[in-house]
């Protein structure tokens, strides 16, 4: 193995979970993508999948009247990911203030239940802290206990 070799690089790991958002009007294909940021840290993103398989821009708001079900599904997927990959941490932030606020509300509402299985941290400015309801977090970390 003394031959000259080309330099190479490793691509960050990307893991994708798909599901369908179903209403009487339409079915929207959704995907939740975990993208490796550092060795043990993954960004999680929720996107729509268009008919040609491409990912839609997250500025498109899918109004399929099933937001609670979609968010519940995303939470189950995060749980599944953290179970499949023990020791990893998931990071996420809203693509705008409205979505970030929505995430804060959902986590605040379920925090007692969530804490039984997960550690949730919120980011304010340069600092992180253990998640507390009604704090103005702009992003979040979740790991499985």
């Amino acid at each position: 193995m003394n031959e000259t070799n080309y330099p190479f690089r490793v691509n960050p790991i990307e893991i994708r979970y798909d599901f369908d958002s179903v209403s009487e009007e339409k079915t929207v294909k959704k995907t939740v993508i975990f993208s490796q940021l550092t060795t043990d840290l993954f960004n999680v993103a929720l996107l729509d999948v268009l008919e040609d398989g491409l990912l839609s821009d997250d500025l498109v708001v899918t109004n399929n009247q099933d937001l609670r079900t979609v968010l519940a599904t995303v939470i189950r997927i995060i749980d599944s990911f953290l179970t499949d990959f023990p020791g990893k941490t998931v990071f996420f932030q809203g693509s705008d203030d409205r979505r970030t606020r929505l995430y804060r509300i959902v986590i605040s509402r379920e925090i007692d239940l969530i804490r039984k299985q997960f550690t949730v941290e919120g980011v304010i400015g340069e600092h992180t802290e253990s998640f507390a309801p009604d704090r103005p977090y702009n992003s979040f970390f979740i790991s499985k206990n």
């Binding site: 043990d40 491409l54 821009d57 941490t89 693509s95 980011v123 992180t128």
Partner: protein, 58 residues
């Protein structure tokens, strides 16, 4: 700097161009947030997470 996008004639001008850029933007934003975070605070956070994992496995 944001890339300029052109909307083909006959398509809905409000419909953003579908591609991977939405995901790439989210990942870039995540890196930006992480780089802004205080490293000690981040280390302490990961330590808290490890401690919770250790406690729950006992």
């Amino acid at each position: 700097m944001e890339k300029e996008t052109q909307t083909p004639i006959g398509t809905d001008a409000t419909q953003p161009k579908p591609d991977r850029s939405a995901l790439d933007r989210k990942i870039a934003a995540a890196h930006e947030t992480l780089n802004r975070l205080d490293k000690d605070a981040l280390d302490q956070m990961f330590a808290r997470m490890r401690a919770n994992r250790t406690n729950s496995s006992k």
